[in-house]
């Protein structure tokens, strides 16, 4: 049996539950915060290769942007300076299928780009900081996420994602919501970020 559609953390519980039926883990592949696990009865012979636990390479922080002057805001982006010196950013966009769209820009820190590919929303963090950007582990990996698990029912598909980035001594919390009609070919997205001082 192969089980998937779950995060690595959920996979542990799912594997344990199926394990009570006599199935043992024979291999696990992890990519973009999703897991696929091979379960088999002890007598089943498995091929080599994918049967050992393996984690797909995680995206590395992008190279720092060029030192030259870049635009400080995106068209339509709202930006508010917070009392503590932090920033609140907000933006809404329509994402045509297949196009890479800049959704949030924190000057000198990062740009959030999205690409809507039918049933998948790809999230890219462009590093503009000149220092490494880390995605904090509890917030998931900024990579490929599912727009919905309910794509096939009669309502728009939806996703909600949270990212937490550490950029030097600063932290950025990003909340992302997307809606996409299954047949529309476009997704609508709203994104907000709170960037700490």
């Amino acid at each position: 049996m192969i089980v998937s559609g779950v995060s690595p953390r959920e996979a542990d519980a799912v594997v344990a539950a199926y394990g009570e039926l006599g199935l043992a883990e024979g291999g696990r592949l992890v990519e973009s915060d999703w897991a696929a696990v091979l379960l088999a009865a002890p007598e089943v012979r498995l091929h080599g290769g994918a049967t050992s636990a393996r984690t797909a390479a995680r995206p590395q922080p992008a190279a720092a942007g060029p030192p030259e002057s870049l635009p400080s805001m995106l068209p339509g982006q709202l930006e508010t300076r917070l009392p503590d010196g932090g920033l609140a950013l907000s933006s809404a966009r329509e994402l045509p299928t297949g196009a890479r769209v800049a959704v949030l820009l924190a000057q000198g820190l990062f740009r959030l780009d999205l690409r809507h590919l039918e049933d998948t929303l790809k999230i890219s963090i462009r590093n503009l900081a000149g220092t490494a950007i880390y995605s904090l582990p509890d917030a998931g990996q900024p990579a490929t996420i599912l727009t919905t698990e309910d794509v096939a029912i009669e309502r728009p598909v939806a996703t909600n994602a949270r990212l937490c980035l550490r950029i030097g001594s600063r932290e950025a919390n990003i909340v992302l919501s997307a809606l996409s009609g299954p047949d529309a070919g476009r997704a609508r997205v709203t994104a907000q970020a709170i960037v700490g001082p």
Binding site: M1, V3, L29, E31, A35, A56, L70, P96, T120
Partner: protein, 223 residues
Amino acid sequence: MQAIVLHVHAVDAEPVLDRVLPLVPAGVYDRSLGPLVELVVAGVVDRADLAGAAGDALVRVSERELPDDPAQLVAQFVDPPVVAGRFVIRPPSAPAPADPRLEDIVIDRGSAFGTGLHPTTQRCLELLLSLEPGGSFADLGCGTGVLAIGAARLGWKPVVAVDYDERSVEATARNAELNGVAVEARRVDLIEEAPPAAQTIVANVPARVHAAVRAGFAETPGR
């Protein structure tokens, strides 16, 4: 729709995007052409502004008509994924792979989930290669039927594919026919109904559905 096309050296593509993306709310289609990258900008944008943003990285600029159909856009700018060096998953509009060693899976998505681009679909296919094909197979939560079709191609038989959504069932049946494989597609609500019995099962479903599937198996010893 009319689009402006910038060709830039691959090494310059990201810095150019740093300057171009903030100018274009509708985004950029990008495609690697070996040493060059093609950046295609649709919508109302000034050609001179774009060329200026590209600066010295610009190799040439031109214009092109882009298709309005999202499926054709995807076919133009998204390469079909090759999974585990064994499967190509492509829409009908993309050309068949030239390499005869690749299993060619053609997926007409319609409105169901499953283009083959998602990591869970790809990793499930990869894990299938760890098993000796043969005997009965069930795809639980089949979407467009990618995994059921892949299993049939590898030699499992009979293959059954179930989903709670009628459009997914229809898409799977249509895609099985398109790929010339025998897959019995039917509607099953795995939360409410017992999963079909099979010697090999793939379940690419949310955790709460796994809980129901596991309970269904437990209630029916021998499955």
